[in-house]
């Protein structure tokens, strides 16, 4: 079936199986491979994208359910080629190791900061608690998001 939706600000269409997930649509249908599949069951958060501004596990959303809706993926944060403030903070703070959780982690952080520009460390930890990371122990990820919060509002907030 053909699904048409707005991805990172552009209207895109892709032909997918009726059973395909939003994750499959993004990765296979549109070639946006920045969003990762770590479990396929909504348990690891690596596939987190923003659907109409809200973080969702894209592996749990049927592609068909996204007809006409708006999706923001990791590729949409730095379209101009410049890193956005969260990406820069992750890179600077050492919040990246193997990098596989990073896109989903950044999208969860983005959603938090759009909604709550001045979160506490506890609120940050809560907001990313559905995103598993096996490398960092989360400390530097929380550090990075705290740095961004202190810089002022992020785009989209």
């Amino acid at each position: 079936m053909l699904v048409t939706l707005t991805v990172n600000g552009s209207l895109r269409s892709a032909e997918v199986d009726s059973a395909a997930s939003l994750l499959t649509l993004l990765r296979t249908g549109l070639g946006l491979t920045g969003t990762k599949q770590g479990c396929g069951n909504g348990e690891c958060g690596a596939c987190t994208v923003l659907l109409d501004g809200e973080p969702v596990n894209s592996c749990l959303v049927f592609a068909a359910q996204c007809e006409g809706r708006e999706v923001l993926t990791i590729e949409g944060l730095s379209e101009s080629g410049e890193l956005d403030s969260i990406q820069r903070a992750f890179a600077d703070a050492g919040a990246v190791q193997c990098g596989f959780c990073t896109p989903g982690m950044i999208m969860s952080g983005k959603a938090l900061l759009m909604r709550n520009p001045r979160p506490t460390r506890e609120e940050i930890a809560e907001a990313i608690s559905g995103n598993l990371c096996r490398c960092t122990g989360y400390v530097k990820i929380i550090d990075a998001l705290e740095v961004v919060a202190k810089q002022g509002p992020v785009e989209g907030s």
Partner: protein
């Protein structure tokens, strides 16, 4: 992070930003499953559904009718040898005759999509004659236990025998003996296993994959295809975590993809789902460790008698190297004159076990560090004092009789962790045992014990860096450096980046040797066609081995440049300095890019090979010898609060002090420490892959519990620098040690808080609560 002052003048030691960070934060980094090739087909594995059976037939009639079906590959289709055993040759790639565990692949299906390939795999009918299985290493030792292979289930034994153990126990005033048990721990790297095999011109094949050890994969692929190594090229893709789990298992994944590609003539991708990954990948060995330790009244250890039973699972895989390390290190980082350690590797019909950060040591560390605390308690000696009194130091000998001549920062790690954690005050007296925040049950009925119990505990460890005496034969690493005419440098190495930051620290090293900015250096992921076999990226050896190879090659280039520079500037070639992009000599300077251009104009080679071989190591029949060239040391201290009503253990704070030889990059080091600490928390409190008769009961992250951001304690990291003369800039390996002492430090803290000693991990809320209940009724 606290660290000793060794002030960096160049890139080494500075908090250089990761060179791969931009790719990873933008989603540009290309992991295996991100690669799509024209004409690519997809593979899936046919699982047996039972753990032990004879295979009588494979019928793919129904699979052929699945839309998009391409091919079925069985053992009979393997052109070379149906064998991927890494150390022992006991493991067929496809179980054509006999299934030995539920993750054994009987066949491979190939189709136009991953979905169709899996549907086809499910449609393959297997005719299996089920056999009785054995699912417990101790039961597998019984004479009447079903045999997993032809020989005895107890197929492997190592020992370390030193001194006179009986006399040592006679000299002891106190002896503690306990049996400890640990279960499977799953690596849970976020990127599942995967491979993409591409048949290419000239009868060659290229296999891309997520992996730690491309040269192992090269050998496995060449073997199953029956073609020479020269026709097999392995390219490591950006790798989403390893922790040991991508050491040998990628051999199997890549070989499956290769056989399927060879058979179909098409590029074939094989990517595991998370559940398949649980079934197929190796785990941390479940171990039973019987530990007996004697000490004199003043706290001097006199003898240790240790038996280790390691569940190898269905195939030997890396158990020989892992068990060697367990046995060699079983006494912990202490000088004990009389030692008898016997370790057994045992086959069962369960998931295979292999390398996992710590490599066979966290299980024995749990035993030795627990027993030491009990001895200290019995003798009324502070746990850190008793460790300081017995611990290894320069001039002391390990259990294998190895004299330590340099780079032993263990005592300092104990002292720094003690002081930074506020150990003495927190350990002292009963006041430490109740929460100081006055939290109490509302209603305040009188209670037999405080609701919240606080405790502090310690664990200390040592880790032989690199492969040691019983590693696979090759313990050397190569590098290929090419300085271009514009002064930029491209580096190819044989060691893999899996998230730990290798590409960054190698860039820093080359930058310092050649005086060029880190931004002028690019390091590639491994391509086996470029760099000679460099062994595996395991055992905390990569920074050391690959780093030395890079430094070797960079030094050759520097020598070339120095010759040209001295000709241009005057002065002796060996007095030319390289700093900030310039060569300095005779009071004058010239840019590196100008020197590189001059070389190009004058037909002077600026590409060089580096090669570094590990110092020789030895291990005789009694386990005596210089088992490893050098050791890394660490101490971690855990502070916990136990809720006596629910049994929940909250880790409040971890203090980690690690002797790393030399800090190469404080940010990436601290990140590795923090991540390792949390893996230790997971092992201590949450992680346990449960199985029943070969079925995994916890094959996903809903049932296999990993620590989340809400489970991370405060982590205080401290680097101790006891430089290693043969290490790159004095550095030693740091990959494994962060994940090693934490679990037992938590167990010791729980013992301090509750007075109860746990001999099994994980220490779940349930385990604590039920023990407390037993005590309350007793």
């Amino acid at each position: 992070m606290g660290q000793n002052a060794l002030h960096p003048s160049g890139a080494v030691g500075a908090p250089v930003r990761r060179v791969d960070a931009d790719d990873k934060v933008t989603g540009r980094a290309r992991y295996l499953d991100d690669i799509v090739l024209p004409g690519m087909a997809h593979a899936a594995l046919v699982f047996p559904g039972v753990p032990h059976a004879n295979v009588r037939g494979v019928d793919d009639t129904r699979a052929r009718s699945v839309e998009g079906f391409v091919a079925t590959v069985t053992a009979a289709d393997i052109p070379g040898e149906n064998q991927v055993g890494c150390v022992d040759r006991d493991q067929p790639l496809l179980a054509g005759e006999r299934v030995r565990y539920s993750g054994d692949a009987v066949a491979i299906t190939v189709a136009e999509s991953p979905t169709a390939a899996r549907e086809a795999a499910r449609a393959v009918a297997l005719d299996l004659e089920e056999l009785e299985g054995v699912f417990d290493a101790e039961k597998a030792l019984m004479p009447d236990a079903p045999r997993v292979h032809e020989g005895d289930n107890a197929y492997l034994q190592y020992r370390v025998h030193r001194g006179d153990v009986d006399r040592g126990f006679d000299e002891a005033d106190v002896i503690v003996e306990r049996t400890f048990r640990t279960n499977y721990q799953e690596h849970s790297y976020l990127e599942p296993l995967g491979a993409l095999a591409v048949p290419e011109d000239g009868g060659t094949i290229t296999v891309y994959g997520t992996m730690q050890c491309p040269y192992y994969v090269q050998k496995a692929v060449a073997g199953v295809l029956g073609i020479p190594l020269a026709r097999v090229r392995i390219v490591q893709t950006v790798t989403g975590g390893g922790f040991g789990g991508k050491e040998d298992v990628p051999n199997e994944i890549c070989a499956c993809a290769a056989v399927a590609a060879w058979r179909t003539g098409r590029p074939v991708k094989l990517v595991h789902t998370r559940e398949e990954d649980f079934y197929r990948s190796s785990k941390r060995h479940p171990m039973v460790v019987r530990y007996k330790l004697g000490a004199t009244r003043d706290g001097r250890f006199t003898a240790a008698d240790i038996t280790i039973i390691a569940d190898a699972g269905a195939y030997s895989t890396l158990t020989p190297v892992v068990l060697f390390r367990s046995v060699a290190h079983a006494t912990g980082p202490y000088e004990i004159p009389n030692v008898r350690t016997d370790g057994y590797g045992v086959y069962t019909n369960r998931q295979t076990t292999g390398a996992f950060r710590g490599f066979g040591q966290p299980q024995t560390i749990f035993a030795d560090e627990s027993v030491i605390d009990e001895i200290a308690d019995t003798l009324g000696i502070d746990p850190i004092e008793i460790r300081l009194a017995n611990c290894l130091a320069v001039g002391k000998r390990t259990a294998t009789g190895q004299l330590l001549e340099e780079s032993v920062g263990l005592p300092e790690t104990l002292e720094v962790a003690r002081d930074e954690s506020g150990w003495l005050a927190k350990r002292a007296g009963e006041s430490a045992r109740a929460g100081s925040d006055g939290r109490a049950e509302p209603g305040g009925a009188s209670r037999p014990r405080e609701r919240f119990l606080r405790g502090i505990g310690v664990g200390a460890i040592y880790y032989g860096v690199s492969l040691g005496a019983k590693g696979l034969a090759l313990d050397a690493s190569g590098a290929h450096l090419n300085l271009y005419r514009d002064g930029s440098l491209r580096i190819a190495v044989g060691g893999t980046e899996m998230g730990q930051g290798l590409l960054t620290v190698l860039s820093q090293m080359a930058s310092d040797v050649l005086g060029i900015p880190v931004a002028s250096v690019h390091v590639d992921h491994v391509d086996t066609s470029v760099v000679p076999d460099s062994g595996p990226s395991v055992a905390s050896r990569t920074t050391l081995m690959t780093g030395n190879a890079v430094i070797g090659a960079a030094t050759k280039i520097r020598r070339t440049l120095a010759g040209v520079a001295s000709g241009e500037l005057g002065g002796a070639p060996d007095e030319v300095r390289f700093e900030k992009g310039r060569a300095l000599s005779n009071g004058k300077s010239i840019g590196i890019e100008e020197l590189a251009e001059l070389c190009w104009v004058r037909n002077i080679n600026t590409a060089e090979e580096g090669w570094y071989a590990a110092p020789e190591s030895t291990f005789d029949d009694n386990g005596q010898g210089d088992a490893y060239a050098v050791y890394s040391f660490a101490t971690q201290i855990a502070e916990v609060e136990v809720d006596s009503r629910t049994g929940e253990v909250h880790v409040l704070r971890m203090t980690a002090a690690h002797d790393v030889g030399r800090v190469l990059n404080p940010v990436t080091l601290e990140g590795q420490l923090q991540g390792g600490v949390l893996q230790g928390v997971g092992m201590a409190l949450y992680e346990s892959m449960k199985t029943d008769g070969g079925v995994i009961l916890t094959p996903d992250f809903s049932t296999y519990i990993l620590p989340t951001s809400l489970d991370t304690p405060e982590i205080s990291c401290h680097a101790i620098e006891a430089p290693y003369s043969k290490g790159p800039f004095g550095a030693k390996g740091i990959g494994e040690t962060p994940a090693m002492p934490g679990a037992v430090a938590i167990a010791n803290a729980v013992a301090h808080a509750t007075g109860m000693r746990f001999t099994e991990l994980p220490i779940t809320a349930e385990a604590v609560r039920l023990r407390l209940a037993q005590e309350e009724t007793a």
